[in-house]
Symmetry: C2
């Protein structure tokens, strides 16, 4: 059938959780001529996908899931990518592109990317800057990627034609693609996503640090709720993310420790103007990032 609108005729999504499930729903909605295949290790999420009528192509056998697919998306936890790559290698169609939706990229290129590349399979990393503190297929949403930044990392230097088709795919789902080297991506997300997660968690941990829960409950307001929101995310998944981006995260945490000590020093030496400047710089940093006057 000629004249297809989709940049790929078929997609195999490995791991129908929040992100994988949202990709499936978004493809069904925005690229309806694309064949969707879902693979899961267990039958339960596939039954759920069947109940949601996402696609009839459901697999627990990975060879069958990827055979013939033009685009393969790794959407399990990042720690499973390498094993999946090894298992699916013999079944990947010539010319197919493998991507992922993991939150870290240098690690993925160093492991799965290198492995696939060594066997002549193209790999380009994707990181959709979208998510939720909820988990699983039931939290998936067809518009999760609308307006979201999607970082594409092409450290294995796949052909530009594949990069363009991958960008067209994410753009069709509503994303705004940008290309970045994997190492720069990891350092940047450490500062804009991973360390913010740690600080939200720190905020909740610190609140209960010396007992007296009842009064805390009475005094907690929307500020505490919002500052800590992201730390409701799955601890296991976030431990993986911090772990896989460990060097950049630790470097950034070390700067945070220095900066907190600087504020303590300003308070201790009664430098009120210094405290105000510390806070004012935070406010302007936030505004520069979220509400830039010009890009």
């Amino acid at each position: 059938m000629s004249g297809t609108l989709s940049p790929f005729s078929s997609v195999a999504i490995l791991g129908p959780g929040l992100l994988g499930g949202s990709v499936a729903l978004a493809v069904r909605r925005y690229l309806p001529d694309m064949e969707i295949r879902l693979w899961a290790r267990r039958q339960a999420p596939l039954d759920e996908a069947a109940a949601m009528s996402i696609t009839p192509h459901l697999f627990t056998d990975i060879s069958s899931a990827v055979a013939g697919a033009e685009l393969i998306i790794l959407a399990t936890p990042v720690g499973c990518f390498e094993d999946l790559s090894v298992r699916m290698l013999p079944s990947i169609a010539p010319g197919a592109l493998v991507t992922d939706v993991g939150s870290v990229k240098a690690y993925v290129h160093r492991t799965s990317g290198a492995l696939l590349h060594a066997h002549g399979v193209s790999f380009i990393g994707s990181h959709p800057m979208a998510g939720s503190e909820k988990q699983g297929l039931s939290a998936a949403c067809q518009d999760l990627f609308v307006g979201a930044g999607i970082v594409l990392t092409n450290d294995q230097e796949a052909p530009p034609e594949l990069l363009n088709r991958l960008a067209a795919f994410w753009t069709a789902l509503g994303g705004r693609c940008l290309n970045m080297e994997a190492g720069l991506h990891d350092r940047t997300v450490a500062r804009i996503s991973h360390v913010p997660h740690v600080l939200a968690a720190l905020c909740a941990r610190n609140a209960v640090a010396d007992g007296n829960q009842k009064d805390l409950r009475e005094l907690a307001s929307t500020g505490f709720r919002d500052t800590t929101r992201v730390c409701s995310g799955a601890p296991g998944m976030w431990a993986d993310i911090l772990w896989e981006n460990d060097v950049a995260v630790r470097k950034s945490l070390s700067s945070c420790v220095d900066d907190l000590r600087e504020l303590s020093r300003l308070l201790e030496t009664q430098d009120k103007a210094g405290v105000e400047r510390w806070l004012a710089n935070a406010r302007s940093a936030r505004e520069q990032i979220l509400f830039p006057r010009e890009k």
Copy 2:
């Protein structure tokens, strides 16, 4: 006129900013038989209040503003309370009650509270756990206190009858009152409000710590937006708050430094289960505070 519904016949609100203005709007709505007087240092906010038809009783002279008022509410920055207390002392009616809406309480009792008490004027502290990152009368809202915790601190031991009337006042505006000793209040809000503010600010400061703004903008998502939201609050006002609650805040910041270092150590020693536990404890702390199974 007998049979009034309000616990006080008149209220003088000193400082019609976000909080003072919201008190005025809430009194107009929920205690309509109460006379509202507004005092401001400058004419401009009073003109704004006049345009909003909040009340015809507008003053730049503090003696006229408080003369005859049964309830006087300090709603300026906390740093101005003591000076205002001195200036209004000669005009306060016998039997009147003075309160405030400041975010710290031990400092206020130690300064204004002690001063007023020494001159036979009753003072009870109030801290409405409500606010906004916006400022000024234009951001005021008649329902700001609906559902909000209102801490009452009676460290100068004003008569229980006055404490009950003050609680009735805030309850009429929608608040849930609880009594607390000022020092405990300050330690608790350090952990649930002041340090969260610092961590939100730290998060924004750390994001821009090593340049490359453009990529940050592209990668920032709702997580970063929410985690940092409160740090858009007025730096001057928050510098005052941290300053006035300096001892409790520094103690809590020091625990935060230790806890961040603990996480770094877990990452460095590749203790993945430890990292997951660190994050899981954060999540359960948040849930205990915001969604307790039982109070």
